[in-house]
Each structure stands twice: as C-alpha cells, then as structure tokens.
C-alpha cells in the first residue's frame, strides 16, 4: 500500500531522487535522508543558520510555470515539467524544502565550488594535524579528502594568529585553526545564554575572541569544543591526552542530576579519557554540562574502596556476605535499609527485595541543588523516580535521616544496610553510627564506610551496566565502559547474595536475567527488557506519581507536571 503523503509533507528532488519531507526541512537534512552528503561546517541542526562557511553550495531549481497563466511549462524532450535552474549556486543550509524543489549536488559546477571553498578555508590553515587534538574527527580533514583539490597552490606566507589562548577555565583556543564558522558564538548566545564570544578584525585577520574582561566560563563551555568542526577550540582537560581514533565509545548517562543527559564515554584499555554528549532530541539535544564531563575522575580517585572488610579485617566476598547475613538476621526486626537515588533501577529493585526479606522499609537521601533551567535539575540524584517505579520508596526522600537517627537513639534500630550513601552527610552523628552495626556497599570511602562492620566495595556507573529513570520518567540505559577496579564487586550479584543470605528469595545477579524478574513483577516495566531498551530510552507512565512534590523546575525538554516543591 502506498501511503499518501501527509498534508505537511512536500516532495523534493535531490540528485534525481524524490523524497517526501516535512515542509521547511533543511535541504541538508533532506539530502541526508536520500543518502546524499552535502558537506558543511557552520550549519548545526540545533543552532540558527548563519550561512558563512559556503561549503554546502548546491544547485537549486523550481518547476517552471507560465507567469501569466500559472500553467506548468512542459519540457518536450522529457515530457515532464521544465525545471528553472538558478544559474548560480545557493547555500543548502539556508534553503528549506518547498513543494517541487529540485537540488543538484553532483554537477561540475558544484564540484568546482567545493574545491574553491576548501582551498580558501585551507589558505591560512596551519596544517597542525600531527599535534592537533581534532585529528581523526576533524571536518576539515574529512572534507578536504572528500571534496578538496588534493594539493595546495598557496606559496605565500600564512597568517599568524594566537595559538594558545585560554578562553576560559576549560577551553583553549588555537586561532590559526579557526575557520570562522561561528558555531561557538551561536551556541553561547542561543543555548548557553552567555554571549561572551565574538569575532574581531576583518578579512583573513578575523579572530575569535572573548569579550574583554569576560571568560568562557559557563557550565556549558565545553559544548563549543564538541561543535567546533576543526581543532580551534580544544578541551584543556583532554588536550594532548590521547588520539581519538584509539578511544572506544560507550553509551552512558550523566549521573549528576535527574535530567539524565545522554553521554558517550571514550576509553582506551580500561582508562577513561573524556565524556561527550550523545544526541537525544527528547532529553539533551546534543549538549551536556561541563560538570558531568569530569565525573570519570571518580573511577581512579584516591579514596576509592577496593578491599572487602569485615570488622576492619580483609575478607573474601563469601565471608563478607555471610557476616552481613548473620549480622542482619541477629538484628531481625530492628534493621533499617538506606537505598540510594544514585543506584540503578536494578539495584534499587534488589535493595527493595532486601528490605522485604528483612521486613523493613527503605529510605533514600535526597540531594537538592539549584536547577539551571537547561541540563542540570534541582534533584541531584539521577534515579529517584526509579526508586518510585521499583517500589523501593513510597514517598520522596528527605535530605536528612532524622527519623532513622531518632529510631537509633530509641534503640529501635540495631543494624543498618547502607547502599552508596553517607550517613554522616545525611545528618547522623558519630555516636549514633557507633550504636548500630552498619553493612556498607559503596564505591568511595566516607564516614559510613569507616564506621561500618562490613564494607563491600562496588562499581561506579562507568564500570557496570544498568538503567536510570530521569525526571521525564524516561528509562534510559547506560553500558559498562571500563572494567571495574581490582577488588570492587559488581553491585547486582552482591545484593542478590545478600537477599539470599537473609532468607529472601533466590534472585538472579546477572542483569539480563534480573530484567526478566523485573518485567514480571513490576507492571510499568512489563514490556521492557534490557537488551531491547532503545538507545533514546523509553517514556514510562508517570501519571501515578504526577502529584508528587518533585523539586525539578522547567528545563530543556521538561515541564514539571506539578508545581515544584519548595526547596529547603
């Protein structure tokens, strides 16, 4: 059956191939849909059009009509409507699809145009490729190979420009490499709303610079590095660290807030070198905050836990699980479980099973900061909604565990299982912590791990796979980028064994097998399996929790269902 085009679709002709696209679609995107590559530098799908690189030149024509009668003029040679081609090339990025639009990208004129544009762009380009961090993901490299002349006719002296300008705390600028595409300027103005960049001087002396007295210091500055099509803007952190062609890309999620920005973790041989955003038009477009790019440093932090401890002595996992099981069973009826909004959905499910087996309920610790209205929300826990969906908690968490402290003082709680949280930070005093036996599962040392009877080191988000539910109730998966540090244990098997050790059901500690249990027991997750969860995530039904006093305010692609709770 041939689907009739929807009314808002228009048919355009790209190199002789017809395609129906929504009216107003950019010609570059329309060409991409039929597999025709229109090269560009300054165009970016999420930014305004500036049309200053001139790389996307195309030939453009419209079907001919008689000016007087508006009747189509037919071409007797082909029997089709005649096309009036514009004799000069047009830029593709500033051309939108309109009915009957014809474009050609493979004519000798266009080939010549591209060679000419490439030659002009390379006139003052320093050819630093051996020392340039962009090499390997550089549009100028790719397109000079694909569309350039292949040799240089330039024998004059190249312009000299500043090569090592610190634009801000995280961005270094090499002006000689800049091709003046103005993507970074438009990003700062339109997305980051921090209009600090601009061009000064004229002609080939044009230079990208910061407004005097200002710095490119906003928390989104490193996105300019991502969108820079050449090596002009480079990340000071990643500068000269590793060539990109050695790095393995793993999809992940930014854990710093409940926005859940999609990311790519770049690693080589178990070492993470950088984190960049991954396009998800429903969550973060193509951006992410700078603060999320530093998070990989927790993997090799000095305070990372790597040894299982029972009563302060090194132990095996078997000993630790058995010790924890005995400890919790001896305190049966007086056990508290502290889960975490940083745990994955699967870990929260197992934590719930642990609490069920111990006959107790669970509390989470909330972290509330200031939302920036873009990609950092007020809720700094990435997965509080996962805890709601898995049934780990009924009510939203509080910042301080005052009720737990009171219960400890009253002697009602004798043992506490803590998953990845710090009780001291959550308001418990050292004397309160000394009164109870603590079983601690976590990645880094803190006051709780010091006070704990049983310490089981676990993995960071980069060392395991799992899912988070973000503020939109979108369940998104992250994958293991690097192997865990020696000594750290995978969270899921440890939790599953703890559940069994306190007399609970035997649950799978392996992610995919556990998801079958999750799908069977939790109605909201019934149609989902980890393997088939799409890259862009899946929106869950958030209406049962719509009235909850969530703290998030409006941000990119997110409107809170209810009025945000007053943050304390």
């Amino acid at each position: 059956m041939i689907a009739t085009p929807k009314p808002d679709l228009v048919t355009v002709n790209v190199d002789g191939k017809e395609i129906a696209v929504p009216k107003g679609t950019n010609v570059i995107e329309a060409a991409r849909l039929v597999g025709v590559d229109v090269p560009y530098y300054c165009y970016h799908p999420k930014l305004s059009i500036s049309g200053n690189c001139r790389m996307c030149l195309i030939e453009m024509g419209m079907p001919a009509v008689d000016p007087a009668t508006k009747a189509p003029i037919m071409d007797p040679a082909t029997g089709k409507q005649k096309i009036n081609w514009i004799p000069r090339p047009q830029i593709g990025c500033a051309t939108n699809a309109s009915p009957g639009l014809h474009i050609r990208t493979n004519t000798p004129q266009i080939k010549d145009c591209r060679e000419g544009v490439m030659e002009f762009l390379l006139v003052n380009h320093p050819l630093d490729c051996p020392i340039c961090d962009q090499a390997g993901e550089c549009k100028l490299q790719e397109q000079s190979t694909g569309y350039g002349r292949g040799y240089s006719r330039f024998i004059e002296h190249k312009n000299v420009k500043p090569k090592r300008t610190q634009l801000g705390p995280r961005v270094t600028l090499d002006d000689e490499r800049c091709i003046l595409c103005s993507r970074c300027i438009r990003f700062c103005k339109e997305v980051a709303k921090d209009d600090v960049l601009g061009f000064v001087d004229r002609g080939s002396y044009s230079t990208l610079t910061c407004y005097p007295g200002k710095a490119l210091a906003n928390n989104y500055s490193l996105n300019t590095v991502d969108i820079c099509p050449v090596g002009a803007l480079t990340s000071t952190d990643f500068r000269f660290k590793m060539r990109v062609w050695f790095l393995k890309q793993t999809n992940s999620i930014d854990t710093e807030s409940s926005v859940g920005a999609n990311t790519v973790v770049w690693s080589r041989e178990g070492v993470i070198y950088r984190i960049t955003p991954r396009q998800n038009d429903g969550v973060n477009d193509t951006w992410m905050p700078d603060s999320g790019r530093d998070l990989y440093k927790i993997v090799r932090a000095n305070d990372r836990l790597a040894v299982i401890k029972v009563n302060g002595a090194d132990a095996s996992l078997d000993e630790a699980v058995n010790a924890a099981g005995r400890l919790l069973q001896s305190a049966a009826g007086a056990v508290a479980v502290i889960g975490s909004g940083r745990s994955s959905v699967e870990e929260q499910f197992l934590t719930r099973k642990l609490a069920d087996a111990l006959g107790t309920s669970t509390q989470l610790v909330s972290r509330v900061g200031q939302g920036d209205g873009l990609l950092i929300s007020a809720d700094r826990n990435p997965n509080v909604r996962g805890a709601l969906v898995t049934g780990l908690i009924k009510d939203l968490p509080t910042a301080k565990l005052t009720s737990l402290g009171a219960a400890i003082d009253a002697g009602k709680v004798k043992a506490v299982v803590v998953v990845g949280e710090d009780l001291a930070a959550a308001g418990l005093s050292a004397t309160q912590m000394a009164k109870v036996a603590i079983v601690y599962l976590g990645t880094h040392a803190n006051a709780t791990s010091t006070a704990a009877r049983v310490v089981i080191p676990t993995l960071t988000v980069f060392e395991k796979s799992g899912t988070f539910v973000n503020q939109q109730f979108r369940i998104q998966k992250y994958l293991k980028a690097v192997p865990g540090v020696a000594g750290a244990q995978d969270d899921l098997p440890v939790l599953a064994r703890l559940v069994a050790a306190v007399g609970g059901p035997i649950l799978a500690g392996e992610l995919h097998a556990l998801w079958r249990t999750l799908a069977a027991e939790i109605a909201a997750l019934a149609p989902i399996s980890f393997a088939t969860l799409p890259e862009a995530g899946l929106l869950l039904d958030g209406t049962p929790y719509a009235a909850g006093p969530f703290v998030e305010t409006e941000s990119l692609h997110f409107n809170p269902a209810a009025k945000p709770a007053v943050t304390t």
Binding site: K163, F240, R243, W245, F246
Partner: protein
C-alpha cells in the same frame, strides 16, 4: 604405466679404486683453502650495512638537538604487531621548543614484538622515527627488550633535516603579520 627395468652399469676400474673421486673432492677443499674468506669474526667485525637497511627503529633529533617526535601516535596506530606505546604530553610554554606544543612523555618500542617492517618510519609526518643500522638487540629480561624514550634517542642520534618546519613556524610567529 609400464615398468622399465634398468640394468645397473658395472663400475669401471678407475671407479673401483675411488682415487678420481678423492682427488676431485680434495680439489674443492684446496680451492677453498686458498680463496679469500667469506665469513666475519662477528662481534669484533661488523658487516657493511647497505643503504635502506631496516634495523632497530629509533627516534632522531634534528640538527639543532630538538626532539622531532610530536607524539601524534600515527606509528602506534599503524604498527602491525602493536609494538609501540606512546604517552603523549605537552611541552612547557617557556621551553625553547614551546611553540611545538606537543612531545612524547614516554615512548616505548617493545623489540620482542617489533617485526622491523618500517611502517612507523613510512607513516611519520615529522620524520622522527627511522629504522637505522642497528640490527642486534639482546637482553636477559623482557623489560630489557623494551626500548624506552631515552634509549631510542641514544640509538637514533641526529639526522640531517631539509625542512626545519618548526623553525620556520617559530620565525613566522616572531615575525607576525607585517609585510613579508
């Protein structure tokens, strides 16, 4: 196929005495006794290495003593047995070669892995790595068979340069955009 029986010819008298054969053999022996020697007394005497010989890969400096490698890691990428391992690093700005910006912090070639193919030399955009005349690598441990940066420069020495690319770059930077 038909089988053709061949009759062995009886030996002649001369053959039965073995004397012509012994004489012929001794002739070969005596000929080699008086011919010039073909062998070398190896460790003391070294063979002449022909031009274009692919010996141990080394790093070289330019005639001004600047290390030419900028740690672009192309050799590490192209090396078929993955013998090369580079840790890139930045050059301090106040260094005399600060304008080059990048140099290897560490450069290791595992000679137990190296197959002397010369692809690293071929791919090097800075003409910094050369397979030179050195052909003998020995060591008692695996660790000794890894040539580190200092050793690679010691083996490589200095080679003549025709480009002086970075010197020209420096001169242009000092000169600025005034009329050339």
């Amino acid at each position: 196929m038909a089988i053709v029986p061949l009759e062995r010819k009886p030996l002649t008298f001369a053959e039965r005495t073995y004397i012509p054969q012994i004489v012929a053999g001794l002739k070969t022996t005596w000929k080699h006794l008086v011919r010039p020697k073909q062998t070398l007394e190896y460790p003391e005497q070294r063979p002449a290495i022909p031009a274009g010989y692919r010996g141990v890969p080394t790093l070289v400096k330019d005639p001004h003593g600047r290390e030419k490698c900028v740690s672009c890691q192309l050799c590490e990428f192209v090396c078929p047995p993955k013998a090369i391992r580079i840790t890139p690093g930045a050059i301090a700005l106040d260094d005399p070669t600060g304008h080059v910006e990048k140099a290897p912090q560490e450069f290791e070639i595992d000679m137990l892995r190296c197959i002397y193919c010369g692809m690293c030399q071929e791919v090097c955009p800075e003409e910094a790595i050369f397979l030179q005349n050195q052909f003998s690598m020995t060591g008692y441990t695996r660790e000794e068979m890894v040539n580190r940066k200092a050793r690679l420069y010691e083996l490589g020495g200095t080679l003549p340069d025709t480009h002086f690319k970075w010197d020209k770059k420096k001169a242009a930077e000092d000169h600025g955009n005034a009329l050339h």
